[in-house]
Structures are given as C-alpha cells and as structure tokens.
Amino acid sequence: METTLQNVFDLAVTVNGTRYEQAVEPRILLSDFLRHDLGLTGTHVGCEHGVCGACTVLLDGEPVRSCLMFAVQAHGREVTTVEGLGTIDHLHPIQEAFQEAHGLQCGFCTPGILTTVKVFLEQNPNPSEEEIREALSGNLCRCTGYQHIVDAVQLAAEKMRK
C-alpha cells in the first residue's frame, strides 16, 4: 500500500484503551483500518453499505457502522470493538448470556450485535422483547432467526442488573 499513498493523514485513535498512531489514506474505511491495519479482526464486514450491522463498533460509546466511516474520522476519538468487551477466560456478561442462550451460530454477525447490545442495555437495563427487537433492527443474522439472540439479550439484562 505504501507505494501509492498520496494525501496521507496521521491518525491518532484509541481502540479498546490502546492508543494507536498511524498514517492512513483518507479513503480507508474504519472497518478496514481496524481489521487490517490494527489486526482487530473481530469486527466483521458483511455488506459495506450500512445495512447488515456486522461491522458495528462503538465510537465514544455510541454504536456506529464502521463501514460507513473513514478511519480518519476517528481521529482523537475512542473506539471499542468486540475485542474490548471480554476475553475468552473472562467473558463479559453479555457474551456469557449469548453462550448460555445459544445466541449465535456461525458467529459472523455476533460482534456487531454484542457492541449494539452493550449500549442498548446501558440505556435500557430492563427492556421488553419488542424493544430488544427494535434495538436489533440494524443487525442482520441469517442463522438464528433472532429468537435466541432476543433470549440472550434478556438473559444479559438480568445478569447485568445483578
């Protein structure tokens, strides 16, 4: 890539608490930057036109499509990806709930759903099924039919209220 960089910007961004400084071409999508420049491949890319939601990350705590942002736009901001939730040994309660309720099958859409749900449950700790489905309206899943995802969100809400 370095052979053809023109118009390069020095980007400084904090991702999952770690500060990164890197030169990027302005057209590089945030999703590609996270995945390929930083190696944070937990954020998935499913449509690159803002419908599927797999690439959802948190920008200063708000859920956004990382395919609909340029990496340069994250300059000086804080990004949280699925890697910033829990670890294999210490799952976040939402992650635990997804495992317990079988809220994932192929797992491709899951990172975007987890990040979306994290903010949703912070704002609405005791949601109804309908509210959960609304909150998930921007995340497509082809495997689960959403039911176990909804169950997982309810279970996560319970866990987090405790």
Partner: protein, 293 residues
C-alpha cells in the same frame, strides 16, 4: 466495494468549511453523517474529488429553543440527539415520534439532521417533516446567509436550492399553534426500510372544531416531498368528518402526488397506500387536535 480516492479536508469552523466550498465548488462534496453518501461511495456510484468533512465543527451541533416557541437545530445535530432530546419531545412531538423510525440505531448515532435535509431524498422522513412543520432553513456561504422555507428548498430528486458554495447550517421549526394535531403514517417492507409510502399530517382546529389549517406531505410519492395541496384545500373550513377525510385522502392519492414504480411497489400500489395512509394520518391528526384543546 471500496471508495475511490479523494482529497480530504476536515475544517474545524464553519467559516473554514465555507471557504473550502467557495474554492472547490462542484468538485467538493460535503460529508455530514455520511450514512447515505458513504454507501454510494463504497459502491463507487459517487466519486467526489474532494470531501469536506463537517464532523469536526462542534458549533453546528445543537438543539436550542426558538424565540417563537419553536426549535433551532444545528445542521450537524445527530439523529440520536434529536431522538433523545426532551426539548424536541416537548416542542416538536411529531419529530420526536418519528425519530425511532428512521433507519437503525447505528445510523441514527451518526446521521445528521442537516445531512438528511440536504441529501433531499424524497423517501426520507425528515425531509417531509420539515415541510409539514413549515420549517425554515438557514443557508450560508462565505459571503453571507439566506433563509429558505422548507417548502421551497427541495427542487428535485437529491436536489435542493443549495448552491455548490452553500451550506445548510440551521433548521428552524416553528411551534405548532394551539389545537393542533399531528401524525406520521408509513408503510415499509421491513419497519426500518425506506417507506413505500409515508404521510405526515399537521392540522389545526379552530374554536368551532373546524379545520383551520392543514398540511400534509407524502413520502416516496414523487421526486420531492409531495405536498397535498388539493386535498388540504378540501378540508379547510370543514368539519373533519370521516367523509371529509376520506374525500381528502382520495384526492391526495390521485391528484397531489406523482409516485414512481420500483421493484417493491408499482405507482398504482403507492397511490392505493397513499389513500389509505392519508386517511389514517388525517384521522389521527384531527383526533389529536381535538384532544389538544
């Protein structure tokens, strides 16, 4: 699906942004929330030479009370801010009620009020609402500013009166008069898709309970937000009876709109839906107006 190269500018003040627009004209494209523009860039349907990113201009994001009892919204105010603003809920309940229906949560945290208006997609709710609420837009260029009523702002598909060197900086929404009611009815394939048809109605009753003022705007019904002039004329001065509403809805669907066909709905189906939803929207709006005594 990767965007073509472009020259990127991230001004931090409105003045700086306006200078860039003055300098680059048609070659420059404004990047607001990017939720419509970036998909088109990813598809390479749009390949702007220069992007002027407004996201670093904090002065453009605000929700303020207007002196007239209405609202002043900075153009870079995010949908999510509007959705959760108590001031908007109080002063513009129609907007408040509509916000959760716009796209998805992730798009609402990024998309902006002014971006949606300037993009002028006739399927966008805020475009229609700004007309239904009789809003005004403040447009600025390097040399000055002008105000344009929303009803004159939209001139064609994705096309507004904005000159290439101009920027929509603020929307002003007047308060609804007393005894007013409102409604937004939409039909979409999936709840958060572009509406096949949508209808926004704002009505005001006089002391006798007759229709004093009404505005109805249809979404996805033409190349601009379609104002149902003829339908509304039928209602003015009339009691909002079921028959009167039915007749007005019929006129709205047959005479006031010019819907297109696409894979999701033929023009004929859109007219049918326009009729049904106009009726439902007017019914709800008049009922609310009657309750808002």
């Amino acid at each position: 699906m990767k965007p073509a190269p472009f020259e990127y500018h991230a001004p931090t003040t409105t003045e700086e942004a306006l200078s860039l627009l003055a300098e680059h004209g048609y070659d420059a494209k404004i990047l607001a929330g990017g939720q419509s523009l970036i998909p088109m860039m990813n598809f390479r349907l749009v390949q702007p030479a220069i992007l002027v990113d407004l996201n670093n201009i904090p002065d453009l994001a605000y929700i303020n009370p207007g002196d007239d009892g209405g609202l002043r919204l900075g153009s870079m105010t995010r949908h999510h801010q509007v959705e959760t603003s108590p001031l908007v809920a109080e002063r513009a309940p129609l907007i408040h009620e509509t916000m959760p229906k716009i796209a998805y949560p992730q798009v609402r945290s990024r998309g902006t009020f002014g971006g949606s208006i300037s993009h002028a997609d006739p399927s966008a709710e805020l475009v229609a609402l700004s007309v239904a609420l009789d809003g005004n837009f403040r447009l600025r260029n390097r040399d000055g500013e002008r105000w344009t009523p929303a009803r004159e702002f939209f001139v064609g598909l994705f096309t507004t009166v904005l000159e290439p060197n101009e920027l929509l900086v603020e929307a002003s929404l007047p308060p609804m008069p007393p005894h007013s009611g409102w409604s937004l009815k939409e039909v979409a394939r999936r709840p958060h898709d572009f509406a096949l048809i949508g209808v926004a109605a704002v009505v005001t009753l006089d002391e006798k309970g007759l229709c004093q003022q009404a505005r109805m705007v249809l979404i996805s019904a033409g190349d601009v937000p379609m104002v149902a002039h003829k339908a509304v004329e039928l209602l003015k001065g009339q009691a909002p009876t079921a028959e009167a509403i039915k007749a007005a809805a019929e006129v709205a669907a047959t005479e006031d709109i010019d819907p297109s066909s696409d894979i999701h709905a033929t023009a004929e189906f859109r007219r049918h839906l326009a009729n049904v939803l106009s009726r439902r929207a007017l019914e709800q709006a008049f009922q609310r107006a009657a309750e808002n005594k």
